[in-house]
Symmetry: C2
Subunit: 294 residues, 2 copies
């Protein structure tokens, strides 16, 4: 399999986290369907407190019930050492952890200073090695609290997280402040061996992904249907939709391993499961190859 662009599908975790709780059996079906559509890395669950995030309850049950497809990496988001322990018990293939480049956002989100979060990552790495740990740096393109952040500072946090034991980095545009120019500015610092996690808050996820692809970035987080949380208007501000990125990549001749038609079937099923239309425009209008019946 020669994958040109690696997609980490985060719909079952980041997408469904923003929705009313979906039962374990439906989540298992979704994850298995995504693997069957060609996704080779799936953030399937997070091991967080079910009181804090009810829609992520039953993470261990989900992991136990999915069919492990060969070659697919099943990832769990973990907020702390306790979550990492549960993830290891559930036999996940990799972990993801999050620290914000915005001190104010980090404190509001996880009630820890950035230093404390980096320490927490070190603690997770200590028990999880040799599993891959991707550290997601949130608010990497600006903070709703502090405004623009210096790319040098964002990059420095990434390097600290590698020192703490993370094995790869993803930069997240948590509140939709990225632009092509700011993607360029950050990549000037970090290099292109990073993942990007882009949001549609300002309708810029695809243009930012394209700018990054043109620079040579080959790892992206996306969410089937474009599901995902945001403090802004429901249905219009989620994650970059997997089908929107695959549609673009296919047209550019960059293989992601994903079968777009199968993925669109999964997306339609996701809309049924969450009970509303998904934000993806490709899901709504169909791929460009679908001609009018005239």
């Amino acid at each position: 399999m020669s994958i040109a662009v690696r997609i980490r599908e985060v719909g079952p975790r980041d997408g469904l986290q923003a929705e009313e709780p979906v039962d374990v059996a439906e989540r298992v079906r979704l994850i298995d369907a995504l693997a069957a559509a060609g996704l080779h890395e799936i953030e399937a669950v997070s091991f967080v407190s079910p009181k804090a995030v009810p829609s992520m309850a039953g993470a261990g049950d989900v992991m136990a019930a999915i069919t492990r497809a060969p070659g697919v990496r099943y990832v769990a988001l973990v907020p702390n050492v306790k979550g990492a322990e549960l993830a290891l018990e559930a036999n996940v293939d990799a972990l993801s952890v999050t620290v914000s480049a915005s001190p104010a956002y980090n404190e509001k989100n996880v009630r820890m200073t950035v230093d404390e979060s980096v320490e927490s990552v070190a603690g997770i790495a200590k028990i999880a090695a040799p599993l891959p740990i991707d550290a997601v740096v949130s608010c990497a393109f600006g903070s709703p609290y502090e405004g623009d952040l210096e790319p040098a500072d964002v990059d420095a946090l990434g390097r600290r997280l590698l020192d703490a034991g993370a094995t790869s980095l993803t930069y997240a545009d948590t509140t939709g402040m990225a632009t092509p120019r700011r993607v360029d500015d950050l990549l000037d610092r970090t290099g292109i061996d990073v993942g990007l996690h882009l949001h549609e808050t300002r309708g810029t996820a695809l243009v930012n992904a394209y700018a990054a692809v043109e620079r040579g970035v080959r790892r992206f987080d996306t969410s089937v249907g474009g599901l995902g949380g945001s403090p802004f208007a429901a249905g219009a501000a989620g994650n970059l939709a997997t089908e929107d990125l695959v549609h673009l990549l296919d047209d550019l001749g960059l293989d992601s391993g994903v079968d777009l038609d199968k993925l669109l079937d999964v997306s339609a099923e996701v809309a049924r499961v969450v009970g509303h239309a998904v934000p993806s425009r490709i899901a709504a209008a169909g791929p460009r190859s679908r001609l009018s019946s005239s």
Copy 2:
């Protein structure tokens, strides 16, 4: 005034055409507000049959009532010689005409062959000279009927329209089939001294605009709020929103002459006038410079 990127605002025509009729006084207020926000070229009206397009009735009244701002070009779309005569009587500054690169679309849209449409443009040019006439080639990035079109054929139609008397060309992605690669492919043929008219049908208007800007294209049609017609889902498939493009251009340091804050006020007013939220994401979420009140 050193404008790096020229925007032709088509909201009063292409945008409102897709809405329930808005009365003349409101349309006049909108056009004047757009000029005050820094738009220097405004497709204000179309001289079409009011029976065929009720929302464009009163074009002459609109042109008579607006305040002609210095340096602003007021454009009328005209479908034929009769429309051009009315536009000239109304003292417009420039005309736009449309011919489709898709024979099937052209026949369905205006009940003429492409040859007949080119002839019609020649007739319009004969009576309108020396006014500028921009010929908009619709379905330039693919047809819902014929599928992909050869860039060479699309370019050849553009050249025929220049021969017929058009003074500039705009290529339109009428049904949202453009992609960055296909923008590149067409520009390889046409060169970059063209305008682009992009649609959001597949959520790709901004990424296509960015790809074109990177190639050096400096003329775009946009619609305030992203209003505009489409056979697809209402509110999700209009024109590239003026505020979305200006937000991108400002961040790239490319001046369009437009004041984004003033434009967002106009966009909010447009939402009130048409009675529903506009599709623009920047209108919904605000520009990235607006920080949370924390």
